[in-house]
């Protein structure tokens, strides 16, 4: 992407840099810097053993080129989390100004967390929400102030043994958000987190935990960007969300990493009775993304939905998808995925739908559409359905194709040049999902697609 406008970098002025490579000593030092309770250090060390023991997945994208000895696992860029942008070091403030976070915060956000390298360096939350008991902290601060909650839920949804990268995250996690929304509190404006990698060969391992108590609502938006380097960075996050009875959580991701970032993320939500979980997942950047946001429907009438959008250009592989696991009767799930591949990019949909024997009267619908814009590109669809109950209604549809000749012909007959017409058609194709993103991201997405389509001949 020549038009990647977040590709700038700032000089590094790190307070702590544990350097490249990972061993037990690095983990002990991270834990010591953070002054963690001993049980967290134990969790980290046992997760590290699991990380070493687990094999690299033999499916999905090419993970063989990640050099774990070159990755820098912990960088602390500033002294503490600030609540005024002006208190931040100049380089960091400038970065966020360029991305536009402080401006957005003034206009329409209820709270912001900004993570730079390994640490959350800025945080804010509307005074009114604080009074109503909403907790929005960096994960490290969350561990200090609410150790009991963290002990109860940390790793409950995504245990270190889940996969190699969840184990790595558990071993070296730093930063991320900790959110608690009290009973019946509905947060009207979104909370925003922004993740920025600035250093070369950086490994960012944020850990997010969201607990939405009964009848509450929260919308959480995360964005991510990084400078363009010739060497690779690694982003391996874990997100755990508990949606209690009657609560609703919407989690929106706009992943726009530069094309030298491996993005390997585990996201999972447990949804209890009558609760609703909505994942809105946009993958535009990164070299390789492997991410399958999942909903576990734990109690009757729980609902889950995943909207997934992926764009793969030259040198990119988006292996995205979703998982829905029905563990209780009368639960429903919906997964809609759209992907576009171009200039040799590869998109894959990988999904799981599971309905257990005791989960009767469940409904699930999965729709995946893919557009391939030129002959160098590739698209795959790998869904898996496992249904062990007879009283269900399951539908799955997937299609792969190119821009419709008739649509193109129609637009051209109205005098629209071909490249512009393709841009319009592609924008129309992603529109049902793009409109679910916050306005400025949706506009950004449309602009990006139009730019990408310029000069393309279908």
């Amino acid at each position: 992407m020549e038009d990647y406008k977040y590709g700038f970098s700032e000089p590094e002025k790190n307070l702590v840099d544990l350097g490249p490579g990972l061993n037990e000593d690095v983990i002990r030092r991270i834990s010591a810097i953070k002054e963690e309770p001993s049980w967290m250090l134990e969790k980290r060390l046992s997760a590290y053993k699991i990380f070493l023991a687990k094999k690299i997945p033999d499916w999905g994208g090419d993970l063989s080129r990640i050099d774990y000895d070159k990755i820098r696992y912990y960088i602390k860029p500033s002294e503490k989390e600030e609540n005024l942008w002006d208190n931040l070091p100049r380089e960091i403030k400038e970065t966020y100004d360029k991305i536009g976070i402080p401006e957005a915060e003034k206009k329409y956000l209820a709270g912001v967390k900004a993570q730079y390298e390994s640490e959350v360096i800025y945080g804010s939350l509307l005074e009114d929400l604080k009074k109503r008991g909403v907790v929005f902290l960096g994960m490290d601060e969350g561990l200090k102030k609410y150790p009991d909650l963290v002990l109860e839920y940390f790793g409950k949804l995504v245990p270190a043994s889940d996969n190699k990268f969840a184990a790595l995250n558990t071993a070296v996690w730093s930063g991320g958000s900790f959110i608690y929304v009290p009973r019946n509190v509905k947060i009207e404006l979104p909370l925003q987190a922004y993740f920025r990698i600035n250093a070369k060969n950086m490994g960012q391992f944020e850990r997010t935990l969201i607990i939405a108590d009964e009848g509450s609502f929260v919308s959480y938006v995360e964005g991510c960007t990084a400078p363009v380097y010739s060497t690779d960075s690694l982003h391996a996050a874990v997100v755990e969300i508990i949606v209690k009875r009657g609560a609703r959580v919407r989690y929106t991701t706009i992943q726009n990493w530069s094309k030298n970032v491996y993005n390997l993320v585990t996201k999972r939500a447990f949804v209890y009775g009558e609760g609703t979980m909505e994942w809105v997942d946009g993958n535009i950047g990164s070299k390789l993304t492997m991410k399958y946001p999942s909903v576990y429907l734990m109690e009757p009438y729980a609902k889950g939905s995943v909207l997934s959008l992926a764009y793969a250009g030259a040198g990119q592989h988006q292996d995205a998808g979703a998982k829905a696991v029905h563990l209780a009767p009368n639960t429903s799930s919906q997964i809609i995925s759209k992907s576009v591949s171009k200039d040799g990019g590869r998109t894959s949909y990988r999904g799981l739908l599971k309905i257990v024997e005791s989960a009767s009267n469940c409904k699930s619908n999965v729709v995946c559409d893919a557009l391939i814009l030129d002959e160098k590109s590739r698209s795959d669809t790998y869904p898996y359905m496992k249904v062990d109950n007879e009283d269900v209604s399951v539908g799955h549809e997937a299609s792969v194709g190119k821009v419709g000749e008739d649509q193109l012909f129609y637009l051209k007959s109205r005098g629209v040049p071909e490249s512009e017409a393709i841009g319009m058609i592609v924008n129309g194709f992603i529109e049902p999902i793009a409109k679910e993103f916050p306005m400025e991201y949706a506009l950004e997405l449309n602009k990006l697609i139009s730019l990408e389509m310029e000069g393309s001949m279908g």
Partner: protein, 179 residues
């Protein structure tokens, strides 16, 4: 169009079929046994076309493991795969269906449809439809559905004086019917 029947219990496994013209294949299985069959169709000549129809009725502890793959290896080929299964009692179906379009196989038109009617308390379905598409000028899709008989249909037939069991039997027969 040449029509051929495949016998699932006596065919070699895996079964590989090269398709050079317009061909139609039908296979069916009724019973309570354990069946496992891989069938691969290679479309090797431009303009060739294959239609595949599979009909399955699983009874008791039947375990039916079916793997169908269609490879579009040259330009302008066409395929439709339709596999319909009625599962009764504790029967299980494990279905894997892959449509593959190789690089340069433009003009491929490919569709796979797998439907299951669920009739027993202990039935189970694993379904894995896959698309691997390495060309852009194509039209490829798949569709999977599973459900029990619709309440509306049973109600309609009950209102005409049919017992529930008879209504379900009629729905199953209609589901598996083909021309």
């Amino acid at each position: 169009m040449i029509r051929r029947e495949l016998d699932l219990t006596e065919s070699p496994n895996p079964l590989k079929i090269s398709v050079g013209g317009k061909e139609e294949y039908i296979f069916s299985y009724y019973g309570d046994g354990i069946v496992s069959q891989d069938i691969q169709f290679d479309l090797v000549k431009a303009g060739s076309e294959v239609k595949v129809l599979g009909l399955i009725l699983g009874l008791k502890d039947a375990k039916i493991d079916l793997n169908v793959q269609v490879n579009h290896l040259v330009p302008n080929t066409k395929c439709t795969v339709l596999v319909k299964a009625v599962l009764k009692d504790k029967s299980k179906l494990d279905f894997f269906g892959k449509l593959f379009v190789s690089k340069g196989a433009h003009g491929s038109d490919s569709f796979l449809d797998q439907r299951t009617l669920l009739l027993g308390d202990g039935v189970g379905v694993d379904s894995t439809p896959q698309l691997e598409i390495l060309a852009n000028n194509v039209k490829c899709s798949h569709k999977v559905s599973m459900s029990k008989p619709s309440v509306d249909e049973i109600f309609y037939m009950s209102s005409r004086g049919l017992f529930r069991d008879n209504a379900v039997e009629l729905i199953s027969k209609g589901f598996l019917a083909y021309e």
